[in-house]
Amino acid sequence: MKHTLVALMEDRPGVLTRVVSLFRRRNFNIESISVGHTETPDISRMTLVVDGSNTVVEQVTKQLYKLINVRKVSDVTDDPTVDRELALIKVTAKPSTRSEILQIVDVFRAKVIDVSPNALIVEATGQEEKINGLVAMLRGYGIKEMVRTGKVSMVRGMGATRETSGAPASNGNGVAKALNSES
């Protein structure tokens, strides 16, 4: 099952390397990673999509916590969240196909942000499935180049993913809860 994790970490050289090196060393299968600045200076935020069992995801969380520069890790999979991904898609557009492509772009509420005689760049924002749908539709016209940011997530409502006093979330009952959910 796919899990979405949000990690807050210190924004300083080498921290991303530590995180990525951990995934490789522990043989965790990470589907996407997206990192950027946050409302707090010196703290960056990573949204991770991990495909694996609860046990694997619990290990990812705990191993991330062991990194000294990681402040907080939350599994937001079961929380109500807003999820978004951004994609730039350069698609071949001849005069004969251009209007069809524009219609598709319109249906997906995407935008054309660059036009040249034989190509368009389409900007699309939305959930992963929506981007996948758009890509599937455009593929027939010839996708020259594509870049996707990977998913970013935020929990709805007033609650915020903030760093706490630093106590590991996976102590005592937390661990028990995660482990029991396996059995």
Binding site: E10, G14, Q59, G166, P168, S170, N171, G172, N173, L179
Partner: protein, 554 residues
């Protein structure tokens, strides 16, 4: 007062109470060596940096404090790597200081440059590349704090040469600011109560004690738990010494070469109280069939170890000593005499490894005799291989930190340098190295260090002219296809002599005791070449992919 980076390191080491460091100079680290004599720190000059890392490891394990090693940039730092990894897998508190090329040259592939922080990323608890001298004191403070708190481990501090030479105001921080690091010490009380309830209900419980008991200095609390509840105690390889092996509730070593009765007990039990251990594959055997009927209480300070390998019924994250103190208040006195008798019956049937009667000198005999002669009071530092398992089986340990070995990483070449660190940490103790001929050759150059430092260690070389553990695997699982395991060793007595170490030899069983006694009479390092039988396998043995219940007794 303004100090340069090199002096800041020296002052920081003094602030942290460091008395000994192990290392070797080189180009980039020269500024540090230049000022080292200004500080009340004894420097042990090694002959290879791997030796320095193992010495710091041995010092850390024996002293209950941080072991420190240092090396120059590039190859010097790289030579530490196997030793740092060994310390990491076995949770040794250690700080490794390396110099690097000047900041302006980093990334240019200049002479003796390597990315040691990148290389040691997965084998350190944390590491630092210090790019500003202003950060150095804080980094040193944090490095020692991280190395010795929580689950201990090695921390590497890499300091470019220009930072060693740059000056700044020296203020040693009183405390650390590490918001992302806050190990849980006190176990969750509700979980501890659940654990106590499970212990009260269990009919066939066992305690598996790991090195966490020793690191946390919880031997008394463990003893109290075992004696109050009457639960038999089995240890992991690194847990040896955390519970007295002469105690009636002690039932030996778990795992691949553990005692048959210990493995049967764990396989058959209905509750495991796992204390400061990590269910390593060498302890569990086939993990899917590990203790199939058991509930598991797992106490460990590292939350990531809980649920990593084995499903846990009651997880308790916390310092072993503090958790056991609370647990001991919750438990009611009980006894499990039928169950203890059952394990004792298994022991009757398949006793602990003994030395067979033989006219030949068998490899187990020197270890058993060493136990008798030293009355079990020496610190044994073993290397990795067959002799390591025999050292665990045939020498009985009653004190914490009396059996020191590379467990998790199984780094050959560990014992001789580690023993030098151990002896410097515990000068009052008799220290014996038990080592094979394959292992001793790997860091034999440290004999020179032992002589130069006049370190009084005795070396029992179990010389079977082969890489015995690999030979055993070939013997049992590869149709006796002994490829690349026979060794034509040096003349060890002559080699020892060349280093200035008295060399003794035994080739017959009747010579063993006398030669050990002779070695004990000589002051300073001594090497005994026990020329033993080659074709001896370690038993009991759990075959790869088998469960503990299927242990072979030989």
């Amino acid at each position: 007062m303004k100090l340069n980076g090199a002096r800041i390191i020296g002052r920081s080491l003094v602030e942290e109470g460091v008395k000994v460091i192990f290392g070797m100079p080189g180009g980039a680290i020269t500024p540090f060596y230049d000022v080292l004599p200004e500080f009340p720190i004894h420097h042990v000059l090694v002959r290879h940096e791997q030796g320095a890392a193992h010495m710091a490891d041995g010092y850390g394990r024996a002293s209950e404090d941080v072991g420190v090693c240092c090396a120059t940039s590039g190859p010097g730092a790289l030579n530490l790597v196997a030793g740092i990894a060994a310390a990491y897998l076995d949770s040794t508190p250690m700080v490794a200081i390396t110099a690097n090329v000047p900041t302006s040259q980093i990334g240019k592939d200049v002479f003796q440059e390597c990315d040691i922080t990148g290389i040691t990323l997965p084998i350190t608890k944390h590491n630092y590349l210090v790019e500003r001298v202003e950060d150095l004191a804080t980094v040193m403070k944090e490095a020692f704090y991280l190395a010795r708190t929580g689950r201990p481990g090695p921390v590497l501090v890499d300091v470019p040469k220009d930072v060693l030479l740059a000056e700044t105001e020296f203020v040693y921080p009183k405390s650390v600011h590490l918001p992302g690091y806050n190990p849980t010490k006190h176990g969750n009380m509700a979980q501890i109560k659940r654990a106590a309830a499970l212990i009260g209900e269990a009919r066939k419980p066992v305690i598996i004690a790991g090195q966490g008991v020793i690191i946390s200095r919880a031997e008394k609390e463990l003893l109290k738990l075992a004696e109050t509840t009457g639960i038999p105690v089995i240890t992991t390889l690194l847990g040896i010494g955390g519970f007295p092996e002469s105690h009636p509730l002690s039932f030996g070593l778990l795992g691949l070469h553990g005692m048959a009765y210990a493995n049967y007990a764990v396989h058959d039990c209905d509750l495991i109280v796992a204390i400061g251990m990590r269910f390593d594959d060498r302890a569990t055997g086939k993990v899917e069939e590990f203790a199939p009927n058991a509930k598991v209480i797992h106490i460990d300070i590292d939350p990531a170890e809980i649920g990593k390998n084995v499903r846990v019924t009651v997880p308790i994250v916390g310092d072993v000593k503090l958790v056991l103190e609370r647990l001991n208040q919750e438990i009611a006195p009980s006894s499990h005499q039928d169950w203890v008798d059952q394990i004792a019956a298994w022991r009757e049937k398949h006793p602990a490894t003994e030395v067979r009667e033989s006219e030949k000198l068998l490899p187990q005999l020197p270890i058993k005799t060493l136990y008798e002669v030293t009355q079990g009071k020496a610190i044994i530092v073993s290397d990795v291989g067959q002799h390591q398992m025999w050292a665990a089986q045939l020498y009985w340990y009653n004190e914490p930190r009396s059996f020191i070995t590379s467990g998790g990483m199984g780094t050959m070449g560990f014992s001789l340098p580690a023993a030098i660190g151990v002896k410097l940490a515990r000068p009052e103790k008799e220290v014996w190295v038990i080592v094979g001929d394959g292992s001793l050759q790997m860091n034999v150059q440290e004999l020179a260090t032992a002589v130069q430092e006049k370190v009084d260690i005795k070396i029992a070389l179990i010389n079977n002219l082969c890489l015995g553990m690999v030979r055993q695997i070939q013997d049992l699982f590869f149709e006796k296809n002994f490829v690349a395991t026979p060794l034509t060793g040096p003349d060890w007595v002559k080699l020892a002599d060349a280093y200035g170490v008295p060399g003794l030899r035994a080739t017959k069983p009747e010579e063993v005791r006398a030669v050990i006694e002779r070695a004990r009479e000589i002051e300073g390092p001594v090497l005994i070449d026990f020329q033993v039988e080659t074709a001896e396998n370690v038993y009991p043995m759990v075959k790869p992919g088998r469960s503990l219940g299927e242990v072979l007794v030989g």
